[in-house]
Symmetry: C2
Subunit: 119 residues, 2 copies
Amino acid sequence: MTTSSDSDDPTVSNPDHYSTLWENEFVRVLEYRDTPGTETTPHHHPNSVMVTLSDFERRLRLGDQHRDVKLSAGQAVWLPEQRHAGTNTGSTPTHTILIELKSSSTGIDTHAASLGPKL
Amino acid sequence: MTTSSDSDDPTVSNPDHYSTLWENEFVRVLEYRDTPGTETTPHHHPNSVMVTLSDFERRLRLGDQHRDVKLSAGQAVWLPEQRHAGTNTGSTPTHTILIELKSSSTGIDTHAASLGPKL
């Protein structure tokens, strides 16, 4: 298990792409936007639900693991707690909403099977 | 405070409009769709985040209270735990995703100020 630090927070590590829309005692809600070719630096997500507002293709990386995901606008997927970096590998901008759960477990699953969303 | 029953579950009371996309130990994720003029019967929502996938206008009712809300596609709003019924008062279909929090408080706030989403 790896512990998180402030620099793992995507709004800190990648502020050009992640912004906080609002938060309360239960959730923090982020908006993510990028353009084709954008690469993020490694960052941490708590257990989250991601709702896609655009179609996009993305390669997620953690160490020597990677996983390619292709999502359509209007999907709602579970993103289990994890650390990763991502690259927009498609030809369209990415636009998503991330609902981070504050009460979620603090364990980080580094298995390849959980890299990226559960589809 | 009112206690919930199965018939308060919108997927039970209004199955033509609410469907469960998936659930896990932390959340249940619902999709809501309707057309102009659709009225739902009273139902209960736990603390939830609603992500809008369409523009829509809606009148929410609880007893003799009502509140009109107008939302745009791509918004993420907090829906505090509540019981209500709703009518699509606009000219466009409604399409939303509701992320219900399973760990949320079980108190129901019946104050008018919390009827509908927090904007």
